[in-house]
Structures are given as C-alpha cells and as structure tokens.
C-alpha cells in the first residue's frame, strides 16, 4: 500500500505538495487533466475552497476526483461558508470516501470575492476547526454527542511568515500547533533570509513546515501581489529579473525562480518540503519540479 501523507511527512524526506484550483462551472476537464498530470508527482494535492471567496466547484468535489483517480487529496476547509454543523458533516463525508488530509483555514473575507453581499459565517475559526477534528477523532461531535464511527485526519494549517507585524501571527501559529496541527503550508515565500529566520523559530515545534511557492508569471503579477495580497512580499530583484525577460519569456523566468528557490530550500534543509501553487497554470508544476531537481516520485529523497 502506498504510504499515507502523514507517513511521507514523517519520513524525513523532502515533501512536495501542490494544489488544484477547481473551475467555476461544471466543465471539470481541465481540473481532471491537472489532477492526472500531478497526482503521481507530488505527495498530496490540495484543492482550494472557493479561493479568494470566488464561488467555484468545491474542494470536496475536487478531492473526491483526486481519490477516484488514485491521488492523495488534501481537503481545504475554510470557516467562511459553513457553520459547525456543516463543517463536521463534510468531514464525515470526506472520511467515508477515503480523504485523510485536511487543511484548516479561516477563509478570505466575503467582500474580496465575487458574491460581495453574501453572509460570511465564521462560526468557527481555524484553531477551533483543528480542535473540532481532534474531538471528532475521539468519537464525539462538537455538541458532545457520540459519533457512530469516528474520523481520523492528518490535519494541517497555514502560516504567513512575511506578515507584518509577525508576532500576532506566531502566537496564532502556536495556538494551531497546540490545537493539533501536524503540518503547515505557508503563504508564498520569496525572501529566503526572512524565511530562514522564521524556520529557526518554527523548528522548535513538532510540526512539518512546507514552504509556499507561488509561481510568478510576470513582473506585473509580482507587483500586483505586493500591492494587493496580504502577507506576500516579492523582493525588487525578482521583479527586475522578471521585467528584464524577453517578451513571452517571463513565465520561464518565473519557473526558473521557483525551481531554484525550491532547490535552495532543499539543499540547505531549510524546511521539510514545499507546497507549489501555480494558480491556474498547474500544467507548469512538473517543469518547476524539474528545475528544482526533484524526482517525479511521491516520496522525494
């Protein structure tokens, strides 16, 4: 039997995860193509949950497709759209269908998305959701009632090493650790000195840290993220590098940057692995891995 994601995390090998962005609509061809392309190349595949509060095909649906096609999914669960009943119910479905990994997130605010007048739920937060999972594993739901059949998940969370001020984020990170997070996928990191500093702190905790790698496809995208995406800081030298690329070449430069960054993280053993986010360009993930010198097998060495 293939090793579980938790076993891979604890193997001591450099772990690679990536993510799938589901479509807005019922045309899932592209998503399935991305799944097939990546499922055997990475340890596990996240499926985003209405990323940026934009209504889409759900994470659970994408995770079921990954399961059906022989991959290992990481169910992303935000607290934005479901109250505690709905969150627990979804965990029950996920478990019965063989999904064993969950990433617990607060979720973006509703007004940043495409249904600006919708009600944000946030009945639980990410820390409480982690605890809910651990409680359900003990056979009780959040109401204290017995479950007829418990769940078991490898639960993770996120952290933003570039946030300013960083201290409140680190306090929350520690709360997540105390609440049962086993692994962290970070927000995109570009400044490796800053990330190394974060890792020096994070190493004290019994959790696995996968550095977030977001593919930069243009100088414009990098500037946009600096302006608009909280917790992301692309240093000027990387923006210059992308801007200096010949027309049509910026994306290749971005692949190079991402691949080299992963290679450095691995070579210097800065963290336990990486989480590669290509945001709509998932077909480029294998190229990034190639530049990084990562073999295309689930458990990297």
């Amino acid at each position: 039997m293939a090793p579980s994601f938790r076993e891979i995390l604890n193997s001591g090998n450099f772990v690679v995860t990536s993510e799938i962005g589901p479509p807005k609509g019922t045309n899932i061809e592209k998503m399935l193509h991305h799944i097939d392309l990546l499922k055997d190349k990475v340890a596990a595949l996240n499926v985003t949950d209405h990323q940026s509060s934009v209504m889409r095909f759900p994470s659970l649906g994408g995770c079921l497709a990954i399961k059906e096609r022989g991959g290992d999914p990481i169910l992303q669960m935000t607290c934005r759209d479901r109250n505690r009943l709905a969150l627990q119910a979804e965990l029950l479905i996920a478990y019965t269908r063989g999904i064993r990994n969950v990433l617990c997130l607060t979720g973006d605010a509703v007004p940043v998305g495409d249904h600006k007048e919708a009600k944000g739920v946030f009945d639980l937060d990410s820390v409480q959701l982690l605890r809910a999972i651990r409680q359900m594993e003990s056979g009780k739901d959040l109401g204290g009632n017995d479950l007829d059949g418990a769940v078991e998940f490898c639960a993770g969370a996120i952290v933003t090493p570039e946030a300013r001020p960083i201290e409140p984020q680190l306090i929350k990170f520690e709360k997540k650790v105390e609440s049962g997070a086993e692994f962290f996928q970070t927000q995109a990191v570009y400044d490796l000195d800053n990330f190394a500093e974060f890792m020096q702190y994070a190493r004290k905790f019994p959790v696995k840290i996968l550095a977030g790698i977001v593919l930069l496809v243009s100088a414009r995208m990098a500037r946009y993220m600096n302006e608009n995406v909280p917790g992301i800081f692309v240093p000027q030298y990387l923006i210059d590098e992308l801007a200096s690329a010949p027309k049509g070449e910026a994306v290749n430069r971005g692949i190079e940057i991402a691949g080299q960054m992963i290679a450095t993280l691995k070579k210097e053993s800065l963290c336990d692995g990486v989480h590669i986010m290509a945001i709509g360009r998932e077909e480029l993930v294998p190229e990034i891995m190639e530049v990084a010198g990562l073999s295309s097998s689930k458990s990297q060495t």
Binding site: T106, V112, D123, Q128, A163, P168, K172, K175
Partner: protein
C-alpha cells in the same frame, strides 16, 4: 450607546410613500440628531422635499428620545395633525420606529436605515464597538472587541489577511488583532492572547431575544 443611522435613498422613501398623500413626520432629538439624520434640520428638509413631490405634510415633531415611553406623550400633543395624515414617516432609528408604531394606528414608514450601535470618534466619524453577543470578552482583549472590530469576528487571533496592521477588506480599517496585540503587549498581558477561546454560543439569549430581569445576580 448610540444608534447610528443613515437616511434611506430618497427614491426608496418616495416609493414607500407612493400611496399616501398626507404625511406626518417625526424625528428624534437624541441619536438621529447627533448623526444628522433625524434632527430638526433634517425633518424640515424632508418636509420641503415631500411638499415638492406634492404631498401634504400635516405636521412634524422631533421627539426628545424616540425610543422611550415619553414618545406616547409627545405624540398625543400633536394628535390633530397626526389624525389628519394617512401615514407617519419616522426619521429615527428602528427603536423610534418601533415606539411610534406602538402608539399610532397608522402605517409607519422608516426614513432611516439603522446601521449599528456605536460611538462617535470625532465629529461625523462613527464606529461600531459592540455586536451585543452576550458574552463580553473585552476583559481579555484589552478593551477592543474582536467580534466587532475584526471583520470575521475571530476569537483566537488574526487571520492571514492582515497587512501592516490593516484589514484585507479595506485598507482604511485597522486589523483588530494587531491593535489587541499592541495594547496587550503594552499592558504586559500578552499571555491572554495565547489563551484558547472555544467556539461561541450564538444562542446566549434565544432569538427573538428577550429577557426578564428579576434581581441583580
């Protein structure tokens, strides 16, 4: 406590008054006067606008505090003008609208939308400070309510959408948890931020909320 209100778009008021040709207007001398949405000046302005529409304004008053029981007295003083109207336009918060509708058996139309309970930071700048959740946590959050001041109402610390102390929904808005962190740190009480807060009880007082207070606990 102040009820913060905003005047409805005039087109909406116009539409609601469509079937009425004789209108009596009431304002409020307390919150709605402070927010300049239902004081004497605004009531007079509304009177002029309705008359331009061809309505007959049978009378108007600014009730000192439209939410309290003295409203009944204030209204009775203008009985004739009210009798003569076929609806009452209330330029007060919902509490005033509610009061007026208790005492006058005529259609009551709100001219304002009640936005939140808040304070005035500086003239004209109003801010919500309480969501009336029924489980006050201010003692542990340095007097800043995370349920109200954080867009997501998070109890266990900031989300990843905070940026240099600002909120992801609006760069003008402060991140509540950055403020809480700074204040707790200054007070030497950062340990409070590490405390786990369990999921909230959304039914502290069962909705529709009402309570009979019999003695001091």
């Amino acid at each position: 406590m102040k009820s913060i209100t905003k005047q409805k778009p005039f087109d909406e008021i116009k539409e609601q008054l469509d079937r009425f040709d004789r209108v009596y207007i009431t304002g409020c001398g307390t919150c709605a006067t402070m927010t300049r949405t239902g004081g004497r000046e605004e009531v007079m302005d509304m009177k002029g606008r309705l008359e331009e529409l061809g309505k007959l304004v049978t009378g108007s008053t600014v009730i000192p505090t439209a939410c309290d029981e003295m409203t009944e007295v204030a209204i009775s003083e203008d009985k004739g003008a009210i009798q003569n109207a076929n609806c009452i336009l209330v330029m007060a918060c919902v509490l005033g609208v509610h009061r007026v509708s208790l005492y006058i058996d005529k259609p009551v139309i709100p001219a304002l939308d009640t936005l939140f309970i808040g304070v005035e930071d500086s003239p004209g700048d109003f801010r919500e400070v309480c969501a009336q959740c029924g489980q006050c946590v201010l003692g542990e959050t340095a007097g800043i309510c995370p349920l109200t001041a954080c867009h997501k109402g998070l109890l266990n610390g900031p989300c990843g959408g905070t940026n240099n102390g600002k909120c992801e929904v609006d760069r003008e808005k402060d991140c509540a948890w950055t403020l809480i962190y700074q204040r707790l740190e200054a007070q030497g009480r950062l340990d409070l931020m590490r405390k786990y807060h369990a999921p909230r009880n959304s039914n502290v007082t069962l909705s529709p909320r009402m309570i009979k207070i019999t003695s001091q606990a």
